[in-house]
C-alpha cells in the first residue's frame, strides 16, 4: 500500500495540471485578499465577518461547491481519468500485483491530498499571509484560530466525501471532460435543490447530505449537537461512498 502511495505522490508531483492549479489558486487567492485588505474591493455577508475576520472574506469563494468543483474535477480529470484513456497507464498498475482495493485507496488518498492543497491549504495560507503582512485583522488570535480550526476541520471531513464522488466520476467516465461535466452538473443540481426546492422531504434529505454541510461548517454559532451531527453525516457519507467506490473499482474492466 505504501508503495502505491509513493507512486501516486511521484505522479502527482509531476502532474502539470496540479502545478498549474496550485499556481492559479495561490495567485487568485492572493489577489482577492490583497484587493480586500487594501480596500479596493468590498465583500459583505460572509460568516467571517462575525468573527472579525472580514479580511478573509474572499475565502468564501473557495468553500462554495459551485466554485471548488472546477478545481477538484479538473484535477481528477487530468490526474485520474487520463490514466484510463490517454496513456492507459492504469493497466500497469492493475497488473502490478497489488489489490484493486489498495490501488483505489492509494489513488483516493493522493488525489484528495492534491485537491485539499489546491482547494483548502493554498487559499487559506495565502489569505493568512496577506492579512498578516498588510491587513489589520488578528487572524492568529485564539478566537480566530478556534473558529477557523472548527470550520475547516468540518469542511475537510465533508470534502473527503466530495473527492470520493469526483474520483468515482473520473473512473466511471474515463474522460477528463466528462468528469468535469458530471461534477459540475452534480454541484448545480445540489445548488438548485438548496435554493429552489420547497418540498419538505427533499429539503430534509438535502440537509443531511455533505453538500449542505459545506455551508454549515462555516456557521459562527454551531451547537455541540450540530457539530456532532455534521461529523456523523460526513463520516457516514465518506464510508458509504468509499465502499461503493471500492466495489465499483473491483468490477471495472480496463480496455
Amino acid at each position: 500500500m505504501s508503495n502505491l502511495m509513493k507512486a501516486e505522490l511521484f505522479k502527482l508531483r509531476r502532474n502539470k495540471t496540479f502545478i498549474v492549479l496550485m499556481l492559479f489558486i495561490f495567485g487568485l487567492s492572493t489577489l482577492l485578499h490583497s484587493l480586500i485588505v487594501t480596500e479596493w474591493w468590498y465583500m459583505t455577508g460572509t460568516p467571517f465577518e462575525l468573527t472579525n475576520l472580514n479580511e478573509l472574506n474572499a475565502l468564501i469563494f473557495f468553500t462554495v461547491p459551485l466554485f471548488f468543483n472546477f478545481i477538484v474535477s479538473t484535477l481528477a480529470g487530468f490526474f485520474i481519468a487520463t490514466e484510463f484513456t490517454q496513456n492507459n497507464a492504469i493497466k500497469n498498475e492493475m497488473i502490478s500485483g497489488n489489490k484493486r482495493s489498495q490501488i483505489f485507496i492509494a489513488k483516493y488518498c493522493v488525489f484528495t491530498v492534491g485537491a485539499q492543497i489546491t482547494t483548502i491549504v493554498l487559499p487559506l495560507v495565502s489569505a493568512i499571509v496577506v492579512v498578516k503582512l498588510v491587513g489589520t485583522n488578528d487572524v492568529l488570535s485564539a478566537e480566530s484560530l478556534i473558529y477557523l480550526g472548527k470550520s475547516y476541520s468540518l469542511f475537510t471531513i465533508h470534502f473527503l466525501s466530495f473527492t470520493a464522488i469526483v474520483l468515482l466520476f473520473a473512473i466511471w467516465t474515463e474522460d477528463s471532460g466528462r468528469t468535469i461535466l458530471f461534477t459540475l452538473v452534480l454541484s448545480i443540481a445540489m445548488f438548485l435543490v438548496e435554493k429552489f426546492v420547497t418540498n419538505e422531504l427533499v429539503k430534509t434529505i438535502y440537509e443531511h447530505t455533505f453538500f449542505y454541510q459545506f455551508t454549515e461548517s462555516f456557521k459562527y454559532t454551531m451547537t455541540d449537537g450540530e457539530i456532532v451531527k455534521s461529523i456523523i453525516i460526513g463520516v457516514v457519507s465518506f464510508i458509504l461512498i468509499m465502499l461503493f467506490g471500492i466495489v465499483t473499482f473491483h468490477k471495472k474492466e480496463v480496455k
Binding site: N3, L4, K6, A7, F10, K11, R14, K16, Q86, N87, N88, A89, I90, K91, N92, E93, M94, I95, S96, G97, N98, K99, K251, E253, V254, K255
Partner: protein
C-alpha cells in the same frame, strides 16, 4: 514434474451476444515461448486481458503458477510482466521516471534495476527526453523495459513489434531468446505476423474467432511446414540407394507405402529425376510438397470457416 505457468480451462468471454473468446484451453509450461497467432479481432488481446486480470471471464478459469485462487492471482501478477495492446506510459515523463513509477508501484528496492532495464532495451541514452517525443519503436522498447523491470518469471507481450524497425524486431527477438535461455523466462507473445513468431516461439496456439483451433509445438509445425520432394519409384529400396550413393542425400524419410520424402535438392528437381532414371528406375510420382507457415495457417482457418 512439469511446472505449468499458465493453464486456462474453458476460458470464455462474452460481450452481450458476441463471444470474444469461447472455451479456450491453453497450457504453457515453464521455459516455453508460446506464440499466440491469430488475425486482428481473433481474440488474442481479450485472452491476454483476462490472464492479466484487466478483464474478467464470463466462464472458465485461469490458473497462474499452478494457482487459481483469486486472491493468490493478485500475488501471481507480481511474478509477471506484460504489455497489453500499447505500452502504457506517461507521456510527460522521461523513460527513467516512467520506470521509477513502476518501481515504486511494485515495491522494488533500489534504483539499479531502472538503469539495468534501460540498458537491456537500449534506451540508456534518452536522458531528459520526454516519452511524448519518443518514436513508436522507442515506446515499445520502454514498454518492454517496464515489463522486465521486476525480473519476472513470465512475460506477456501483445504485438510487441508494432512500430519497430527491422533491426528493432531482430533485437527484441534476440533479447527474448536470451532471457528465455539464460533466465528461463517464460514468454507468451501474440502477433498476427506469422514469420515473426515462427522464428521465436517454441509452441504455438492458433486462435480464430475466439476459439483455439490448435496447439502445436515448433517441431511439429516445422514438420508440417517443411518443404520436401515426394518421390515414388517402382523400386523404393534401389531408389534410396541411388539417392544416398549418387547424390549423397541423407535427409529423407521412407513412408510405409514406399514413398520417399526427400528434404534436400528442392532447387534441383531435374538432377534428382535424371539420376533416378539413369539408374533404371521408373518414376511414378515426383512433386514438391509441404506448406509455408502462411498456407498452413490459412488452411486451418479456412477449414473452420468452411465448416
Amino acid at each position: 514434474m512439469t511446472e505449468y505457468i499458465l493453464r486456462t480451462n474453458a476460458l470464455t468471454k462474452k460481450y452481450k451476444n458476441d463471444y470474444a473468446l469461447k472455451n479456450v484451453d491453453v497450457t504453457i509450461k515453464r521455459g516455453e515461448i508460446y506464440g499466440l497467432i491469430g488475425q486482428n479481432g481473433a481474440g488474442k488481446t481479450t485472452m491476454l486481458r483476462l490472464i492479466t486480470g484487466l478483464a474478467f471471464p464470463t466462464n472458465g478459469s485461469i490458473e497462474l503458477f499452478e494457482n487459481n485462487d483469486r486472491r493468490e492471482m493478485t500475488a501471481a501478477h507480481k511474478r509477471m510482466g506484460a504489455i497489453i495492446e500499447n505500452p502504457a506510459l506517461f507521456p510527460n515523463m522521461t523513460a527513467y521516471e516512467n520506470l521509477e513509477v513502476q518501481r515504486l508501484q511494485r515495491g522494488i528496492p533500489g534504483r539499479e534495476c531502472i538503469e539495468k532495464a534501460l540498458k537491456l532495451v537500449g534506451l540508456e541514452g534518452t536522458g531528459k527526453k520526454k516519452v511524448k517525443n519518443f518514436s513508436l519503436g522507442m515506446k515499445q522498447r520502454l514498454g518492454l523495459a517496464i515489463a522486465l523491470l521486476s525480473d519476472p518469471e513470465f512475460i506477456i507481450l501483445d504485438e510487441p513489434t508494432n512500430g519497430l524497425d527491422p533491426m528493432g524486431i531482430v533485437e527484441m527477438r534476440e533479447l527474448l531468446k536470451k532471457l528465455n535461455r539464460e533466465k528461463g523466462l517464460t514468454v507468451l507473445i501474440s502477433s498476427h505476423i506469422l514469420s515473426e513468431l515462427y522464428q521465436l516461439a517454441t509452441k504455438f496456439g492458433i486462435i480464430h474467432q475466439g476459439q483455439l483451433l490448435e496447439e502445436i509445438s515448433a517441431g511439429e509445425l516445422n514438420d508440417k511446414c517443411r518443404q520436401y520432394l515426394r518421390i515414388k519409384v517402382d523400386e523404393p529400396a534401389k531408389g534410396v540407394n541411388v539417392l544416398e550413393e549418387k547424390l549423397s542425400a541423407h535427409d529423407f524419410e521412407i513412408l510405409s507405402d514406399g514413398t520417399i520424402k526427400l528434404y534436400s535438392y528442392l532447387d534441383d528437381v531435374h538432377l534428382v529425376s535424371r539420376t533416378l532414371t539413369e539408374h533404371g528406375l521408373v518414376i511414378e510420382h515426383l512433386s514438391q510438397n509441404g506448406d509455408s507457415l502462411e498456407n498452413y495457417f490459412t488452411k486451418l482457418i479456412g477449414g473452420v470457416e468452411n465448416e
